[in-house]
Structure formats: structure tokens, C-alpha cells
């Protein structure tokens, strides 16, 4: 079995992008802050006019953990797996997985690039370490 994200009024901006393998974020037209998580208002200046921009998909590992235990039956056959906070080059921090990378190469500050992995009828951005 697989677990899926559920798109909401707020987050459909991001998940609509995922369907097309694009990292779409809201950029505030007033203060230029790229906001994440999605919201109706910019938390910095309370403006609600945004342009949608596509991020390039590069960043670095801010922190990570390797799950050795499955906390849900959907992950029983997947341990050990890595959950990481990816700091994208443009600023936002995303929770994701490090994939296609040996465990011993996963370290804080390592550069990563997006790898789109299918998840149900959509795709999710995961990341692999690049040299």
C-alpha cells in the first residue's frame, strides 16, 4: 500500500505542479518572499497577490533522519529509508526523501537535485545527492 498527499484549497497550487513534475511556489508580489507552505496570505506582509514561479529543483540537505523502524504498515518493506528537510536554493524548506543515494553519502549540506517519483496518479518531488 502507499500513502498519498491530499490536496487542499491552500496546497493545490503545489500539488497541481507535481502532476506535471514541476515545483510550483507562490512568490509575493509585494515583498518577493517565496512562501511555503502555501497560504492565502503572505505571512511577512499580509499581501495576497502572488505570482506562481517554478523552482529549479536544486538545493541542499538541511537535516535528515534514517527511519530504521516502520511507523506505518505502508513502510514495513521500505526501512531503512531517509526523510530529509531539503533547503531549496530559492529558500523554501521541503520535507522529502533522499533516494537513489547510498546511505553513507547522505550528509547535511550535501547538494541535491529533484527526482520525480510516481505516487498514485501523481508525482512527488524526491531528491538525490549530486557531486
Amino acid at each position: 500500500m502507499e500513502l498519498f498527499p491530499v490536496s487542499t484549497f491552500d496546497t493545490e497550487i503545489f500539488y497541481n505542479g507535481c502532476k506535471e513534475k514541476k515545483l510550483i511556489f507562490q512568490k509575493c508580489k509585494n515583498c518577493a518572499h517565496i512562501i511555503w507552505p502555501n497560504s492565502l496570505f503572505c505571512p511577512r506582509c499580509y499581501n495576497n497577490n502572488f505570482e506562481l514561479i517554478e523552482l529549479k529543483g536544486y538545493g541542499s540537505i538541511y537535516t535528515f533522519t534514517i527511519f530504521r523502524v516502520a511507523f506505518h504498515k505502508a513502510f514495513k518493506d521500505k526501512v531503512p529509508y531517509t526523510v530529509a528537510i531539503i533547503e531549496l536554493d530559492e529558500g523554501p524548506k521541503l520535507v522529502s526523501n533522499i533516494v537513489d543515494t547510498p546511505l553513507n553519502e547522505i550528509k547535511i549540506d550535501k547538494k541535491v537535485e529533484v527526482v520525480w517519483k510516481s505516487c498514485g496518479n501523481t508525482f512527488l518531488p524526491k531528491f538525490k545527492v549530486i557531486s
Binding site: 507552505p37 535528515f64 533522519t65 530504521r68 523502524v69 511507523f71 526523510v83 520535507v95
Partner: protein, 393 residues
């Protein structure tokens, strides 16, 4: 904000315990009621005196039983309090709320309770998990909350300054030594060596089994009132000398406080300012310890040592029985039992009342006779922090 007028004005006058650890067959509600009644009796009050009831966050029941709402708790306690409250998501404001209600004269005696049957109900926390259906999108990545979130915070700490298992093992072992003196601690009969700690399985890197809090059945309660009323009651008077609170709030996944200070810094400064004391006045600490790392980052942010110097602070049993600064003298959440912030706070009260048996601070454990104990609580994933400095009058 001048809080000094509140210093030593309010007191904790009674504590309530229940059977704890693994106590099969009981509902969370039953522990609430037992803890509450025991606290009322311990204070020497009657139920008619209780006009405020503040319950901690209640996770959804895992077994076939009702949610322990504050309505239900009040009903079973046979009380109709003026103020009834329950926090929803770990924002730890119980004591600041109680003192505010007393100061404004809305209430006279406030009962604070937390209880759960997490061990028998197999609450998801650290061991093999029986998790309900996930509640947010991070589950699609296999990220399920507290354990992974704190593990990522700890991993970042290891990058920011010198820390890791070599520091955390001292915290786990020192607390276990306290638990070995506490007959009601879940690990009373089990010692912990460095080998045990290091050889225990990794759960979510960098955390091993003994870095994480226990899961417990049981409940804990206490009663807050004015010092004036406390003087007429039967227990020694333990005052609230300082209170602090801070809510960084930002989700750990977007937080910058992993690389800076947690809420403990601001909350600690507020509490010490109200108490009008400095760190060297503290005789013992009861620090919220959902993980070993949480003890380190909290005490670091309070200013007990500089970033990266935790290993020197905790080594050689410095915080264990006989140590220079006792920390988590019941065994704490790691080795006694998990009742959120009430594990540390009630232990602080019990120590100052002199009711701790073999683990009693003072001559019995070759430590200083305690007058002032620093307690704290932490909610969410470092999103909420509260500080409570207790004093024996």
C-alpha cells in the same frame, strides 16, 4: 512586562499519582479521575473547592473508550468548575493560565491533570507502531511526527555544534540512576550502562532506543492556589517563583530555530527575571525530556553551558545522584513515566516537599538540600516552551 509582583504569590499544594507503567485494562478517563481525586485529597481540599480544571492535550483514544474530554473529567469528578480548559496541540500554557486565572480572581483552586493509557493502547511513539491513518502530507514520505522530527532537529544540532550520542548517553544514564532509586519508575529495576546505550538499536538516526521517552499508562495531577491559602493547608508550601513562556510556533520542517535558540531561551529569561535569581540559585532541574537531546538543548538555551559543551556538563555523573546539579530526579520521561510536563513539575514539587524517599535531594543522595528547582515543559516539536521555577518557602 513586570511579572515580579507574581513571584511567590501562588503555590502548588497537592499532587496526584496513579498506578503507572503498564496497567492493562484501564481507560484514560479512569486515570484522569484517580489522579484528580488523589491530588484533591493530597492537598487536603474537598471537591467543592475546585473551581478551575485544566486538562492537558488528549490524543485520540486507541481503544474502545470515550475521549477523555474536560466535560467528562469534570462530570466524573463531580465538579462544576467556573473555568474548564483543555489545550489542543501541546502548547504548554497550563501554569501560566492557572496563575492568570487566580490573579484575576476568576478561580481559587485549579486542578491540572494529564492521563493516558498509551502503553496498553500501544500509542504510536517510538516502538513498533500502530498508527491511525496519517493526518498530513508528510506521511507520503514516511514522516510520522515526533520521533522523526526530533531526530532531524538532533541531527542538525550535531552539525551546528559538538553533540551526539557521546553527550546523550550521559543524560540517559544519569537519569536512569535516579530511576533506580524510584520504586514507581518504569525502569526502577533496570540499570543502564554505556554499552547498553550504544548497543541499543537505532530507531531513527541519530536516536537509539534509550534516547526516547517512555510510553505510559497512568495519570498525574496537581493543584494550584494562592500562597495565602497554601499556608492553611497540610503540605509544606511550594511556591511558583518564576514563570516563562515562548511559542516559536513554526513547524520544525521550516524552522530556523534548529540553527539558533529554541523557545527555552526566551521562556527561561522571562522566568528568571520574574524569580529575580540567576542560574546559580538552582538546586536541581526537572527538564522536559521527550528525548535526551531535548534535555541538552533546553539546558544549553537556559545558559547552563555553551553550545557544544554539553558533554562536559553531563559527564562523570554530574547530573546523577551525588552530582553537582541533579537533573530529572524521578528518572524523568526517559526512565520514570510519560505524563507530559506533569512528570517534571510534580517531581519538583515532591522534592521540595521532601517526599521523595531514597531519591530525596539532600543528605540522602549526597546533593544539596533543595530550595529552588527549575522545571520546564515543551510542546509540539520545540514549538512551545514553558518554564516554571519552584521554591520551598
Amino acid at each position: 512586562m513586570n511579572l515580579r509582583k507574581l513571584k511567590d504569590k501562588y503555590a502548588i499544594v497537592g499532587v496526584g499519582y496513579t498506578p503507572q507503567g503498564k496497567v492493562p485494562g484501564r481507560t484514560a478517563l479512569s486515570f484522569y479521575i484517580e489522579a484528580g481525586i488523589n491530588a484533591i485529597k493530597d492537598a487536603g481540599l474537598s471537591k467543592e473547592d475546585i473551581d478551575g480544571l485544566i486538562c492537558y492535550r488528549q490524543f485520540n483514544p486507541l481503544l474502545n473508550e470515550p475521549v477523555a474530554t474536560p466535560y467528562l473529567v469534570a462530570q466524573h469528578l463531580g465538579i462544576k468548575p467556573t473555568v474548564l480548559s483543555q489545550e489542543s496541540f501541546c502548547q504548554r500554557n497550563q501554569f501560566i493560565q492557572a496563575v492568570s486565572l487566580l490573579e484575576a480572581n476568576f478561580c481559587k483552586n485549579i486542578l491540572i491533570i494529564y492521563a493516558d493509557n498509551a502503553a496498553s493502547g500501544r500509542r504510536m511513539f517510538i516502538e513498533e507502531a500502530t498508527h491511525g491513518e496519517p493526518f498530513n502530507d508528510n506521511a507520503a514520505y514516511g514522516e510520522f511526527g515526533f520521533v522523526g522530527d526530533y531526530a532531524m532537529a538532533a541531527q542538525r544540532a550535531m552539525f551546528e555544534f559538538s553533540t551526539g550520542p557521546e553527550t546523550w548517553k550521559h543524560i540517559a544514564i544519569n537519569q536512569r540512576k535516579w530511576a533506580n532509586l524510584n520504586p514507581i519508575a518504569q525502569y526502577f529495576n533496570e540499570t543502564l550502562t554505556e554499552e547498553d546505550y550504544i548497543n541499543a538499536p537505532l530507531i531513527a538516526d541519530p536516536f537509539r532506543k534509550y534516547d526516547a521517552a517512555l510510553i505510559s499508562d497512568g495519570g498525574r495531577a496537581c493543584i494550584v492556589t494562592t500562597v495565602e491559602r497554601a499556608r492553611d493547608l497540610k503540605n509544606p508550601v511550594v511556591t511558583i517563583m518564576g514563570l516563562g513562556e515562548a511559542n516559536p510556533s513554526v513547524d520544525v520542517h521550516q524552522a530556523n530555530y534548529l540553527a539558533k535558540n529554541t523557545g527555552a531561551k526566551q521562556s527561561g529569561e522571562m522566568a528568571f527575571k520574574m524569580a529575580d535569581i540567576s542560574l546559580d540559585a538552582i538546586d536541581g532541574c526537572e527538564i522536559y525530556d521527550c528525548f535526551t537531546y531535548t534535555v541538552e538543548i533546553t539546558m544549553q538555551d537556559y545558559g547552563f553551558f555553551k553550545p557544544g559543551e554539553g558533554v562536559d556538563f553531563f559527564k562523570n555523573g554530574a547530573t546523577a545522584p551525588g552530582g553537582v546539579l541533579p537533573v530529572n530526579t524521578s528518572g524523568g520521561l526517559l526512565s520514570e513515566a510519560y505524563f507530559m510536563g506533569l512528570t517534571p513539575v510534580t517531581e519538583g514539587v515532591m522534592q521540595l516537599m521532601g517526599r521523595c524517599g531514597d531519591r530525596q535531594l539532600g543528605e540522602k543522595t549526597s546533593t544539596k538540600e533543595p530550595e529552588i528547582i527549575l522545571c520546564c515543559d515543551n510542546g509540539g516539536v520545540l514549538q512551545s516552551h514553558s518554564t516554571i521555577i519552584l521554591r520551598k518557602l
